[in-house]
């Protein structure tokens, strides 16, 4: 008899660079596409979401203040570390999404490549989106893109890894910090991504991953005064309008949910970077 009894996993949140349990003590069962048990995931509470915002705010100064070159290096490092866990990601994507191993592999490849794409953007945004403004007066006047701040992201529900990376990486590339509510039914690739981030030079608090229910956590994040923008991509369709209304209370930048989950393998362009960037314009007299 060589049948070994498996070690069953109970995962935790990724919050402020650490892996705490939910303060609520709640967990939920994660199953594969056919309903078989995969693991227990932490079910984040309102308090966890608030703690995550505090952690993201605390990390914002350092991350947004890092040089664009450094941020690019760190994002590239995420791709490197993910590459080492390729097989594990493939297994988790295939199990959660019920996809063939070749489709899962394609999704993992694309997710890793997406980090590389955004890693290369960090030190080009300033040149592409900013510049000198030829004002009609004796002033030197220039505009630069800057991060918005703390971004709450409701990650896609179906595409558990490629979708997640597609919404998270652009937030980070622009210099923002993130609080992410992962796919409820398919959280394992996000949990593993948390382990990757924790070992990839991404400072603690820059990314906070909450496994749980976007419908439950969404309202607290949407109305939180210390959240600057909210990405509703993975919001439950029937709750999206309510979340957008809540976000209006503190004039948050909102990315509305698409009519249906997009094809994440398509060329991402700049469309997910610009909503989380501000333009700062600086004037200085020239001459006298």
């Amino acid at each position: 008899m060589s049948d070994r009894l498996a070690v069953r996993k109970t995962y935790k949140l990724y919050l402020g660079g650490a892996f705490p349990r939910s303060e609520s003590g709640r967990t939920y069962e994660v199953t594969d596409a056919r309903g078989a048990f995969l693991a227990n995931a932490a079910q984040a509470s309102r308090k966890d979401a608030r703690d995550a915002v505090v952690a993201a705010r605390a990390a914002f100064g350092k991350w947004s203040g890092a040089t664009a070159y450094n941020r690019g290096q760190v994002l590239y490092r995420v791709a490197e570390v993910m590459e080492g866990r390729h097989a594990q990601f493939c297994e988790e994507v295939a199990a959660g999404e019920g996809s063939s191993s070749s489709r899962a592999r394609a999704a993992v490849d694309a997710a890793i490549d997406r980090w590389v794409w955004y890693a290369g953007w960090t030190d080009k945004l300033g040149a592409v989106l900013g510049g000198a403004n030829p004002v009609a007066g004796p002033y030197f006047d220039f505009s630069l893109p800057e991060p918005t701040g703390v971004v709450a992201v409701l990650a896609p529900q179906r595409s558990s890894l490629l979708g997640l990376v597609s919404v998270l990486a652009p937030v980070l590339a622009g210099g923002n910090t993130a609080v992410v509510v992962t796919s409820r039914a398919r959280p394992l690739p996000a949990v593993t991504l948390g382990e990757v981030l924790a070992t990839s030079d991404v400072p603690g608090g820059v990314v906070n991953l909450l496994t749980g229910d976007a419908g439950e956590l969404g309202p607290w994040l949407a109305e939180h005064d210390d959240v600057d923008a909210v990405d509703l991509t993975g919001a439950p369709a029937d709750r999206a309008m309510e979340l957008e209304r809540l976000a209006a209370g503190s004039i948050k930048r909102v990315v509305r949910p698409p009519a249906e989950e997009p094809d994440w393998s398509a060329d991402p362009g700049l469309g997910r970077l610009t909503p989380f960037l501000e333009t700062k314009t600086v004037w200085h007299p020239m001459g006298l």
């Binding site: 006047d141 004039i251 930048r253 700049l270 469309g271 314009t281």
Partner: protein, 490 residues
């Protein structure tokens, strides 16, 4: 520090200014005005209201009030123009119309300036030298974009959105119209614009300019009215884009109203700008900048430098110099070319300024005002400086939107940045220092959309303007400002 500096306006001064009033004969004021819909001036179904000269309370004209049905007519006209004429038009021709409008604004500049000062209460010096020339500049700048959008760097083949519903405030009536209408038209959209209730006259004169330029009917529609008319514009189902400049409170309700729709939204809301003066700043220039920052347009400026942060060791020197300078400001007839400070735009706004100033005093700040005679008619508030202000005071947190400056102190650059950023707003800021590296370090850390270093309240159509945090989202002006009016723009 002297509490009552001598003012040249006082009879004791040997130097007196002779009055130098601009003639208002260039303005031909109609006793009543209709809406401008589909290229025609038409009657409205709402109850008309009056617009007054805030400097004298004289009734200037009766203004139509657009009902939901009137707004619907305007939106239909805009949609028709978008589908039939303006949308399909060659972009170069759209540009030519904008060039025409820009030229007409220049040609009729004096008329616009006098009308603006009459209706708004701002000094003619500002309407003549700032508002009207900048409005023309916005049309010139955007005219050139009309046929160059593929090269704007906003992604391949951006397309117009359709009908833009635009609601603008009373502080810069013509300039805000230009900020909204010029980019909308340049990008191929048509507009329904609602000017502020207290300052509709220059928008209606602009409607005449549109006719003079032979702009196709329906491309620009002006619907006058108050909050309900604005709501009808914003909530109209056939409006594709909403642009609003005004208070954060109204911005919030607009954001709620467009939630769940496909409408695009840009908001340009309030501010509580920090104007930071370091001890190595050239004090005389800084004082000019402080005055420009808070007393320009009676402080009715969303990006006004209403929080002065002075390094502690130069506080007394700066305040003394500032008070001396404020004592030379001339308050009075907006049409007098010597006037620096005009009238407060409305009785309502005057009441708010009074209320917040009284709260400032009640909360323990020290109020200073120069010896200053106020006219007995009209709405007036003297330039006011509060010292000994703490960051918790309401006059340090709330937008006053009037000629009221709150002074706070700091010791280190870190403290200056922390206090400057300690606001729910993030529209603008000022930094005064001779040290270049400090300017760059401090501006880098300020969370504000526009930072003026050794300057304040400068504007230009090529230069994007807009806020961080609760000062709104989106930018106006520059390449960045076009994105708000284009589908597929990134």
């Amino acid at each position: 520090m002297t509490d009552t500096p001598p003012s040249p306006a006082q009879p004791t001064s040997p130097f007196q200014y002779a009055p130098a009033p601009e003639s208002r004969s260039i303005v031909d004021l109609a006793p009543s005005h209709g809406l401008f819909v589909d290229g025609e001036f038409v009657d409205a179904t709402g109850t008309p209201f009056k617009t007054v000269n805030p400097a004298t309370e004289e009734v200037l004209s009766e203004i139509a009030c657009a009902s939901d049905a009137d707004v619907d007519r305007a939106v239909k006209a805009a949609r028709r123009a978008f589908t039939r004429t303006w949308g399909p038009m060659r972009p170069a021709d759209r540009g030519k119309y904008l060039f025409r409008i820009a030229r007409l604004l220049q040609e009729r500049a004096r008329e616009f300036a006098v009308l603006e000062s009459l209706d708004n209460g701002k000094p003619i010096r500002e309407s003549r030298d700032v508002d009207v020339p900048l409005a023309a500049a916005h049309f010139f700048y955007h005219a050139g974009w009309a046929d160059k959008l593929d090269w704007a760097g906003l992604g391949p083949g951006p397309r117009p959105l359709g009908v833009a519903g635009q609601v603008i405030p009373w502080n810069f009536p013509l300039l805000m119209l230009a900020w909204k209408v010029a980019p909308a038209l340049a990008t191929g959209n048509t507009v329904v614009l609602k000017p502020a209730e207290t300052t509709p006259l220059t928008a209606l004169l602009f409607a005449e300019v549109c006719r003079q330029a032979d702009l196709p009917p329906g491309v620009v529609n002006i619907v006058t009215g108050a909050g309900d008319t604005g709501r009808a514009v914003v909530e109209h189902a056939d409006v594709d884009k909403v642009a609003f400049t005004g208070s954060t409170e109204v911005g919030r309700s607009i954001a709620r109203a467009v939630a769940g729709t496909a409408k695009r939204l840009t908001l340009e809301l309030g501010g509580k700008a920090a104007n930071i003066v370091f001890d190595d700043a050239p004090i005389d220039q800084a004082v000019e900048g402080i005055v420009q920052g808070i007393f320009f347009n009676q402080g009715h400026v969303c990006c006004a430098g209403s929080r002065l942060l002075v390094q502690e060791n130069v506080h007394d020197e700066v305040i003394a110099s500032l008070q001396r300078r404020i004592g030379t400001l001339r308050l009075g007839d907006p049409l007098d070319k010597n006037t620096d400070i005009g009238a407060i735009n409305s009785a309502e706004q005057l009441a708010r300024i009074r209320e917040l100033s009284d709260i400032g005093e009640a909360e323990g700040a020290h109020r200073w005002q120069p010896a200053c005679e106020l006219p007995d008619r009209g709405f007036w508030f003297p330039p006011t400086v509060f010292t000994e202000v703490s960051p918790a005071h309401r006059i340090a947190r709330d937008e006053v939107f009037g000629p009221v400056l709150s002074v706070l102190t700091f010791r280190t650059p870190d403290e200056a940045v922390a206090k400057a950023n300690n606001s729910t707003y993030g529209l603008s800021a000022g930094v005064w220092t001779e040290k270049g590296s400090r300017i760059l370090a401090v501006t880098d850390r300020l969370r504000a959309g526009v930072v003026w270093a050794n300057a304040f309240n400068q504007f230009d159509p090529t230069s994007p303007f807009g806020g961080y945090k609760q000062s709104g989202y989106g930018r106006e002006g520059g390449r960045q400002g076009l994105a708000a009016y284009l589908e597929g723009a990134q």
